[in-house]
Amino acid sequence: MNTRVTRSYGLVIPLFLVVLLLPDLAHGYVGPGAGFGILTSFVVFLNALLISLLSLLIWPVRVLIRLLRRARLPLKPRAGRVVILGLDGFSPKLASGLLSQGKLENLTRLSREGTMTELRTTCPGISPVAWSSFQTSVNPAKHAIFDFLKIDRQRYLPVLSSVKTGAGKDRKAYARLLRRSKPFWEHLGRFGIKSSVLRVPITYPPEPLDGQLLSGMCVPDVRGTQGSYTLLSQSDPGSMTGGQWVPLSPCGENIWSADLPGPGGSDDGPVTVPLRLTTGERNALEVAGESIELRPSRLSDWVRIVFREGRKKVRAIARFCLYTEEDGPRLYATALNVDPLSPALPISHPVYYSRYLAGMQGPFATLGLAEDTWALSNDVIDEDTFLEQAWSIFEERRSMYFDALRRNKRGLVACVFDTSDRIQHMFFDRGLDEGSPMREMYERMDELIGQTLKELRRKDVLIVVSDHGFTSFHTCLDLNRWLYEAGFLGLEDGVETIERNFKGVDWNRTRAYSMGLAGIMLNLAGRESQGIVRPGAESEAVLDEIASGLLQLRDDEGAPVVSRAWKAAEIYQGPYMEQGPDLVVGTHEGFRAGWRCVTGGLGPTVLYPNTMHWNGDHCHDHHLVPGILASNWSLRDEDPAIFDVGPTVLSLLGVEPPEYMEGKALTLEPSSGTEESIEQA
């Protein structure tokens, strides 16, 4: 049963009861449906009136409370509102190139009248690490996010670093945020300063705050994965990373059927919903009772799908794209996003905030990594479809961002856009020439900055921030292979390569192993379940030996591959050191950890060409990929870092940054052009 219908009964039933009590007054009735409509309409009117009156009545009390809380502010607020526009992966180096050509007028204006500079990122410069440091202002050893994945040292298995999911004793599913420390908006809340935080990575599951929050990166799909698409076709394409194949069975002329798998379900396999595809002059798809028309090679609108698991219902949304080919149709279904209108998992705070957004703007992608890079890499969708998807997600985000800007006039508004990151990952090799996807992306992000400037008022501070920059990724570095060939990693007899999860590693002969995008871990005695390296001098010696060996690594043309290798103790200080790697490897431009070794695999060669569509990256030496810091206010400090953003925001809004924060409050001053810019806008 549809939620909205159920909700409508919530209004109709009380009315029905009222009518039951007053049968003689029921002469305005005009039949079920229309009658309910008119009665509901009346209730809506009454509701609007009552809430407005209530709001006006309690407003003075709330203002008083807020004023009292604000009176405790240790500093005088210098900004009316701080707007943080997060552009994931927006590179200051690439943007500067366009600026020098006279492009990106809004960024040019910020650079001329306010600030535009490089922003030092974390080591490594990976989104979950950098955005965690952005929100907590501490180094990874204090927030415990060192990479997308971390190692389970007992089982030698990679697990998600930011969230732990599972089922409790009552079989009820739970999700726990593994990021430690406190985001800076929590400190704002203590002084009655409201925050609207949209899609900042590593905020799932959402933590309470004074304001609204919509979770970003690491929100799973309803299957519990970080996003797995479905390919429905007649022929099996073989194994695919990031997606699954479902056979499409013919059941009539130009009619196909299949079962779309949903959440895990019981031992019998996942819960499914039937799907029926009709092709020909008109392409139609029926799924879970919804019927939609499909245009070839174009993404459909969001379709609501309800999976029934016994009495439990799991609501999801997905989009479809049909490719008609000679050997039959090929239907792509996006990952089954949590339906924001009726979320099966908590994705916002308060929990009805996602519902508010979905009602105001329609369904939107809720998955952490919503742009389907795997589907493009696996040639399941084409470039046009990928770009259509990426830009439609951008538009959804833009809509909710501007809604927050219009609703929250004081305090903090922070929103992160991922489109910039995904497009650069997939189209970096196209460069910034006119008409290229990268060029379009930089121009549209610049437009977004311009539109944001128009929403600002006097004393509002805009901070454009990116977590890292971008560079090329043409060669894969298989760190596990290198460790094996250098004698640090042992394999069981007969094992030559490993697909994933270290299956085949002889731990009794392994001193070090690699997992994740830049980390090398020692097989430390007392820490790893089968550790053999003794802590202290021995472990230090092994790390020195590995670092020295990696720095000497050269490709076929003699170019160095690794620029630096940092021991954890040199760059991290904090209580969660043990969860991170022992050595962080910084690669030169073009080189990155290979696809296999990221998840505990080991390939046949140390260096091999990256043949994936994913050809741009930032998981290199973090000095190569700084983020951007731009503002309509002028920055007086040198060498800002991503850790500094939180203390800066606190300070601008009158809150003393707590001592545990490692960043410093940057000195931002209203520039002479700020007011002029706002007036012009």
């Binding site: 049963m1 549809n2 909205r4 219908v5 909700r7 409508s8 009964y9 109709v12 039933i13 029905f16 009518v19 039951l20 049968p23 003689d24 029921a26 002469h27 009735y29 005009v30 039949g31 079920p32 449906g33 229309a34 009658g35 309910f36 409509g37 008119i38 509901t40 309409s41 809506v44 009117f45 509701n47 609007a48 009136l49 809430i51 407005s52 209530l54 709001s55 006006l56 309690i58 407003w59 709330r62 807020r66 409201k194 609204q212 009772g289 209108l341 308060p350 009805y352 905030y353 519902r355 508010y356 957004l357 979905a358 009602g359 105001m360 329609g362 609703r407 929250n408 006039k409």
Partner: protein, 272 residues
């Protein structure tokens, strides 16, 4: 239109036939259930379901938004304004199905009113009958006689200005109960227990669409200029004992058909 009225009457006769031996309340409930289902299906067919769902979601969001941003009265007022505007748009969306539904609903309403709004006359009960003429006959020329189930009670009261004659009648049997006035046969009250309550007559030899809406009116074909052209019989309002109260037929219909409508919308996934 004559045959259509006959068909409609027959349909309702058939629908209520199984309940003719029971209290009229059962027949009324049954017809209300059928109507609830029929009208909700019609509503679905005639309404833009997706647009209704969308606007309702928006209205829900605007209400949630008022709670979310309650701190800021300008937000609340803006959202309240938006909510009212959405409400108007919602009403505009239901106008079309409302109009479509109104047509069958009027017919149904009329039939139900004809059948269930008046209580049947029991033996010994007295009623007042009024007959209208084109030209009021002289007192001596008035020919009124009971055909079945009634005894007429004199005197006959002549109202010259209205060209009416009124008199009382006491029920002695039936149904059917009928009178003959200047040679025309007039039915009084229910033609059969549980179905059909004629309490007005009109002289008309043609049929119009409006006839469908007046099934309680008996069409009288006068075969002479002296025949009556109209009239009425006073029947008591029907009251139904439900949940300890005395409900009108409309209240019973409203509650039962609405309940059926809610269940129907739930089962058939109709967005209302």
């Amino acid at each position: 239109m004559g045959p259509i009225i006959v068909v409609f009457n027959a349909v309702f006769d058939v629908l209520t036939y199984p309940f003719s031996g029971l209290q009229p309340l059962w027949g009324l409930c049954f017809v209300s259930v059928i109507c609830g289902i029929g009208l909700i299906i019609l509503f679905r067919a005639a309404s833009p379901q997706e647009a209704i769902a969308r606007i309702r979601r928006r209205m829900g969001s605007q209400a949630l938004g008022m709670l979310l941003f309650m701190d800021n009265p300008s937000n609340v007022i803006r959202l309240a304004g938006g909510l009212l505007w959405s409400n108007f748009r919602y009403l505009a969306l239901v106008v079309k199905p409302l109009l479509v539904i109104a047509i069958p609903f009027m017919v149904v309403y009329s039939q139900l009113e004809a059948r269930y709004s008046r209580a049947p006359l029991g033996a010994g009960q007295t009623t007042t009958v009024t007959v209208e003429f084109e030209d009021l006959p002289a007192r001596d020329d008035l020919e009124v006689a009971s055909l079945s189930g009634l005894d007429l009670i004199r005197p006959f009261v002549f109202v010259d200005t209205l060209r009416q004659v009124s008199f009382r009648a006491v029920v002695t049997g039936g149904p059917p109960r009928a009178l003959s006035v200047m040679g025309s046969r007039l039915t009084v009250g229910r033609s059969r227990e549980g179905a059909g309550a004629v309490h007005r007559w009109e002289y008309d030899d043609s049929w119009s669409v409006l006839s469908l809406l007046k099934p309680w009116v008996e069409r009288v074909r006068g075969d002479s200029p002296r025949s009556p052209v109209g009239g009425a019989v006073v029947l008591p309002d029907a009251r139904y004992h439900v949940l300890g109260g005395r409900w009108s037929w409309l209240a019973v219909f409203l509650v039962v058909s609405s309940a059926t409508g809610v269940v129907g919308a739930f089962v058939l996934k109709v967005k209302i």
